[in-house]
Amino acid sequence: VSLLRLPILIHGLTRWDKTLMPESDVEARLARVREAMRDRGLDALWSYSNMEHDGNIAYLTNFRPFDPRMPGLALVTADNLEAVLKVSKRDLAFILTHIWSPAEPSDFLSDEFPGQVAAAIERCGLKGKRIGFSGRAMMPPALEPKIMALFPQGVTEVDGMIEGLRRHKSAPERELLRMAAERAEGVLREATAFAAAGRSEHELMAYADYVARKAGALDVDILMHAGFERMPPAGELEQLPFRPASERLLSAREQLGVYVALQFEGYWAEASDSIYVGGASLAERDAHDRCAAAFETLCGNLGQKHRAGAVSSWVHGLGLERDELPLSSAGQAAAQNGDLLAAHVAFESDGARAFYGRTIECTAGRGVLLSPALQSA
């Protein structure tokens, strides 16, 4: 399952707050990258990222491609870190205020990108060196051969190396994820209070988006599920039926699922819950209680092969991307202590539906909420 939707432009609060992500943590992170390079016998590492999968370049440089036309390549050597970014000179001046590496611009309307990479290879003396490359398969078909031609001696493909390092979150990263989760929780709470008969799903989405942006979100995605729509089959691990808001007006009595993905200082948190417009019936309260209990059970069984029985569920890693290691639900069994995860549960009984999902940390084999949850829908 993928709920991914890319915005036209990521344009929320953009900064590097060094009180939240200290330079010492960045240095420690780069030291781990270099150690992984040494383990693989690499002299240099090139990493390609685009807007759809931007976690690696964000991890290495704090650059987040904000436009689908603007990918980037980061270069790490034993004593150097730099990037070639497909952005205009004008944009680069701003980008340099919040990334932690030097960077060369390569105008996104030009075809200069391979030339810029070639210049970096020359400048850094990388000819004939052992080069690692991540993200090769992600490059567009016209770009990939041009970039690869710059490495006539070949490259060692190291897809998964940085992703593996990203899985182990530092204390500042955990705090940023906690802050993101707290904000997602606030968005759910405000959205629940705002939802009312006669308001449209679109208005509700707009308000939730507003709450998130006022709280400093870099990006946000609000999705919904109405009571008349198909629920996933019980026991299903990868069917979470949230979709973009429509202009349908909310009725006086209805159950609505709401999913919030919120990015704060680069880090994504998720939350989902049910809103019962006009108040929950006894059956709906019971459904929500059972859904929350199933969520607890799911959290208690992280690390084990577990099918959730009467509920459907979705668990996946979170961090600089919305879907990180351990990847989705088949990987519910693969959660390890220290993993930061989104866990969502959907439940239906006799027409009463409930959703419950939060950002959790895997501790001693079970999932623990990163932010105090709403006590009731």
Binding site: R5, F94, M138, P141, A206, Y210, R213, R243, P244, S246
Partner: protein, 378 residues
């Protein structure tokens, strides 16, 4: 099939008749290029092609529309759980789930005279698999689709007019709402909300507040201060980014300095000149030249190059037209463009001025309703 998720604020409906109109344009373009089957592919990085051709709001892995030169098109989506919504919202009769786009596309591309769009917006790995299944090189149909989409249909034009009204409203809301001490990102949130609650689905939004701006950038937590110049690119989209409209304007926190008023007057003159050049048949470059000539006349010709400006205008989403000196392609009636002489001046910094138009046979329709001035918050 009724379409039940259109926004209430619009009188425009993307129904089967509208899609038939778009498909007729695409098929005319296919005829020119000798294409009998066009696969219109959208990945998350370029979601707007499928929205134009199938009215499907992409979520997840991707979607493809198989459009034959004659006969029923088929929409394939990549998320099985979303099939119910796709069938409800797309006016097309045949909507299917497809778990393996590379095999599907490769297989369909074995058809004689077939082509696929936007493969360049996908990964080389995906493109390689498509080619392997197709049995060799595949034909790029992007230009075929783009040619068809350059002229907006009446429904698209109506949506773009609504987007332009949202941009105007959002700017006036910002002008009314802004107070010293408010961080940039909070004002951006206010503007976003004003647009979204009235029907925008997203916004290409840039906004900076400095006493001397070097460019328009993304919002930070910098507090807005007296004496700041607030420069905006506001670009709400209706239903999809294809139906975007952009407004560029400048607010002065407090009375504007004479030098700012003088430079804004230059930009207003450049805006006038640029728009005066707009009509069907005019090469895009002439709209650029007209704007630059005014700025040069006032002694700032050396600044009419990057990084002191970025572009003199463009379209949005599918069928995007660039207003650049290198683009000699004639404007066409029905094109929707922002014309913006946004410009850096050495004494006052970067100032914003730009408006959305629809090109007509004899000129243009101005969508912006705002004055061409620096808005002074006193």
């Amino acid at each position: 099939m009724p379409v039940d998720d259109m926004l209430a604020t619009t009188s425009a409906r993307v129904d089967r008749a509208e899609l038939d109109l778009r498909h007729a344009a695409i098929r005319a373009s296919m005829s020119i290029d000798g294409v009998d089957l066009l696969l219109i592919y959208s990945s998350p990085l370029r979601n707007f092609d499928i929205h134009y051709a199938a009215h499907y709001d992409l979520i997840g892995r991707g979607a493809v529309l198989a459009l034959p030169i004659a006969g029923e098109p088929v929409l394939y989506i990549g998320e099985e759980w979303d099939l119910e919504r796709a069938r409800r919202t797309s006016p097309l009769a045949d909507v299917r789930f497809e778990p393996d786009f590379a095999t599907l596309c490769g297989t369909l591309l074995r058809t004689r005279n077939s082509a696929i769009t936007a493969l360049e917006w996908n990964s080389s790995a995906f493109a390689g698999r498509v080619r392997a299944v197709a049995g060799g090189d595949v034909r790029d149909g992007t230009a075929t689709l783009e040619r068809a989409a350059r002229r907006k249909t009446p429904v698209e034009q109506a949506l773009i007019r609504e987007a332009s009204a949202l941009a105007d409203m959002s700017f006036l809301h910002a002008f009314e709402t802004v107070v010293p001490g408010m961080p940039e990102f909070e004002l951006q949130a206010e503007m976003e909300y004003a647009m979204r609650k009235n029907g925008a689905i997203d916004n290409f939004g840039l906004f900076s507040a400095r006493k001397h701006n070097n460019a328009i950038n993304f919002v930070t937590d910098k507090p807005i201060e007296d004496g700041d110049l607030l420069i905006f690119e506001i670009t709400p989209a209706r239903l999809n980014r294809n139906n975007s409209a952009q407004l560029c304007r400048t607010i002065s926190m407090g009375p504007a300095r004479p030098a700012v008023r003088e430079k804004i007057a230059i930009l207003a003159e450049a805006q006038d000149a640029g728009l005066a050049a707009c009509k069907a048949g005019t090469p895009a470059s002439e709209v650029v030249d007209a704007q630059n000539a005014v700025i040069a006349k006032h002694g700032f010709g050396e600044y009419c190059v990057p990084p002191y400006m970025r572009a003199r205008g463009h379209g949005f989403g599918i069928g995007r037209q660039e207003l650049s000196s290198a683009n000699k392609r004639p404007l066409e009636a029905g094109m929707a463009l922002v014309v913006h002489p946004n410009q850096y001046f050495p004494d006052v910094g970067y100032l914003a001025m730009g408006e959305m138009i629809i090109v007509t046979e004899t000129g243009y329709e101005r969508l912006c309703t705002l004055d061409r001035k620096v808005y002074e918050k006193t």
